[in-house]
């Protein structure tokens, strides 16, 4: 029987954080980091979630991984609903999804040897039990991520940022997961390192059939790794499309502003830039109707009263905007 095609399906996910506690400790308001999003990721596919700071993309990552408990919604990992499982029920399912974080210096325990770091997931799930099996497993992974074979005996501080991310990738692959969540995995790396790591992830995905959720604020990097793009703003997905559809013609005004704001490495190219006015509103009190209307150059009356929902604008291209009707 083939593995199910959909590795992860998220429906109506919400994550609210209580803020502003009163004298009894009860919160007076909620920070609506994620406010109702839905998407699915298939085997061998990369879905990128892009957005700027405060849009909730990191909270999405943590909720999917069940490092946080979502406030509402369903998360189906290979058919099993995981949003309200207890930690002990969740543990065996963790083998299917792993994570790579942004900070290469905080992602590795400075007191552990590389071999132990990489072996930890495999040991937890019983994939390698005795010393020799573990050593062989670690060697295989080091080769896969193109690290030297003697790296296992060394400590994290002996490696550079790019090498540490490779170690994180090796750790994430250690228990043979189906899905890896990359939470800004290349954002802290230099240009040349970014290129190496992005290429490595693409190659591993092709070889191993991994599903990737790539969370990033860097739209240009995303283009080289992703199959589909979801743009988030203030806790909602405003556009979700295939790579070609998105990069050839984004339809949501925020996506257009985002793409036009990326500085092009070409001094002759003068783009008509969509300039957004003002600052991002607070996620504690988002604007009524369409959340983007306070900064949107095309906002009109309907945007204030009615919140737009994601609608099919073309094949493989959904937008949440009133302009599209």
């Amino acid at each position: 029987m083939n593995a199910p095609a959909t590795v992860l399906a998220v429906e109506g996910l919400k994550k609210h954080y209580p803020v502003d506690p009163n004298v009894f400790g009860r919160p007076r308001a909620h920070l609506r980091a994620v406010d109702g999003i839905s998407f699915a990721v298939a085997r061998g596919e990369t879905l990128s979630i892009v957005g700027e700071s405060g849009c909730g993309k990191s909270s999405v990552g943590k909720s999917i991984l069940r490092l946080d408990k979502p406030t509402a919604g369903t998360i189906r990992l290979g058919g099993t609903a995981i949003e309200s499982l207890t930690e002990s029920a969740m543990r065996p399912l963790r083998q299917k999804m792993q994570v790579i974080f942004q900070d290469p210096f905080g992602s590795l325990n400075p007191r552990m040897k590389i071999r132990d770091i990489i072996a930890e997931p495999a040991v937890n799930f019983g994939i390698a039990t005795n010393r020799d099996a573990i050593d062989a497993h670690v060697q295989k992974l080091l080769q896969l991520v193109r690290l030297p074979a003697d790296a296992g005996t060394r400590y994290p501080h002996e490696f550079s940022g790019g090498q540490r991310q490779r170690i994180c990738i090796a750790r994430a692959l250690s228990c043979n997961p189906e899905l890896i969540v990359c939470d800004e995995a290349v954002s802290a790396l230099d240009v040349s390192m970014k290129a190496q790591i992005v290429n490595l992830l693409a190659r591993l995905q092709d070889e191993l059939g991994l599903a990737l959720i790539f969370i990033s604020h860097d739209v240009a990097v995303v283009e080289h790794l992703t199959h589909r793009v979801a743009v988030m703003y203030l806790g909602k997905i405003v556009e979700i499309a295939t790579r070609r559809a998105f990069f050839s013609g984004p339809k949501h005004p925020y996506s257009q502003a985002l793409l036009s704001a990326v500085p092009r490495p070409d001094p002759r190219q003068v783009l008509a830039r969509v300039v957004l006015s003002g600052d991002v509103p607070s996620p504690i009190n988002p604007p009524s109707g369409c959340r983007f209307r306070t900064r949107c150059p095309h906002a009109f009356a309907r945007c204030e009263t009615e919140e737009p929902v994601l609608r099919n604008a073309a094949t493989g291209h959904q937008v949440a905007c009133h302009l599209d009707q």
């Binding site: 543990r91 974080f101 905080g106 992602s107 325990n109 930890e120 997931p121 937890n124 750790r171 228990c175």
Partner: protein, 301 residues
């Protein structure tokens, strides 16, 4: 127009070094040079410990042996620090007194650390226990440690063991607070979250990921507790609430010398100097450890 000087371009050589090459030294000398506080503080402490351990070899006098004929003698070659008002040799008493101070200091440091770490970890990981434990430690900390120790020794028989227990209880809350703070911040580190995502169970997370990374602040705090414990013990002995009077401790010696300190000032000053040096050594060691282990200092330039 920009001008590129070519002074260092000719010959394709690197520009000269700005620092003289360090004279090659042995690894130990190099380590001492880079960690002076640890070297000096640790060295003094080891010296004190040796003096305490080897007391019977250093002096042939029995610190409890009273020779009323020789009481109140000034320092001489026979009695290096003189004799006290009961005719006991002060040098012997001070040397043996080191045992008490060091023993109390280390014991309290160990006990308070173990208790504090346990409390801190439970507090840091279990929210419901945290509120209760923090209110208890708040209560304990609101009482000055010396008063707390006095109260605890007052309700028990005077003995060195009870002094150790009393001071440990008084010092434990601070260690607990510290460990709790470190645990709370470590829980948010990406490698701990990655371990959780990798299916590692909580006991293993605590043992492998949290504890080893709390060692640095714990060690530093333990040295400060040791120094505080030594002083507290001396104060307790000074006011008579500490070690029993037949056991020589620096506080006891100072206490006994208090009555005649204008006539025989050395009875007070000599043990005080020894106490000061020991506490200074422990504090130096703590400062040096803190500087050496602080991750911020280890950041690359």
């Amino acid at each position: 127009m920009n001008a590129c000087t070519t002074e260092f371009q000719t010959g394709g050589q690197m520009p000269p070094d700005l620092f003289e090459a360090e004279r090659p030294r042995g690894p130990i000398a190099l380590w001492v040079r880079h960690h002076p506080a640890i070297a000096w503080g640790g060295g003094l402490l080891v010296l004190m410990a040796c003096i305490a351990l080897l007391a019977p070899l250093i002096t042939s006098y029995d610190p409890a042996n009273m020779t009323p004929m020789l009481r109140g003698k000034k320092p001489s070659w026979a009695h290096l620090f003189g004799t006290d008002m009961l005719g006991r040799d002060v040098f012997a008493r001070v040397i043996y007194g080191a045992r008490i101070s060091l023993m109390v200091g280390f014991a309290v440091a160990v006990i308070a650390t173990v208790m504090g770490v346990a409390v801190g970890i439970v507090s840091g990981f279990f929210r419901f226990a945290d509120t209760i434990i923090m209110r208890i430690t708040d209560g304990l900390m609101s009482i000055p440690p010396i008063l707390l120790a006095i109260a605890l020794t007052a309700i028990s028989r005077p003995s060195v063991t009870n002094v150790i227990i009393a001071i440990s209880i008084a010092e434990m809350p601070r260690m607990g607070r510290l460990v709790r703070g470190v645990v709370l911040s470590l829980r948010e580190r990406p490698y701990v979250m990655a371990a959780q995502a990798a299916g590692t169970r909580l006991p293993k997370i605590i043992l492998r990921h949290i504890l080893p990374n709390t060692l640095a602040p714990i060690m530093v705090q333990a040295t400060y507790i040791c120094a505080a414990a030594m002083i507290t013990e001396a104060i307790l002995s000074f006011i008579g609430a500490g070690a029993p009077t037949n056991i020589p401790s620096w506080g006891n010696i100072i206490s006994e010398g208090r009555a005649v300190w204008q006539l025989r000032p050395y009875l007070v000053f000599i043990p005080a100097v020894f106490l000061s040096i020991t506490v200074l050594a422990v504090n130096l060691l703590g400062d040096g450890l803190r500087d050496a282990l602080d991750p911020r200092m280890a950041k690359r330039v």
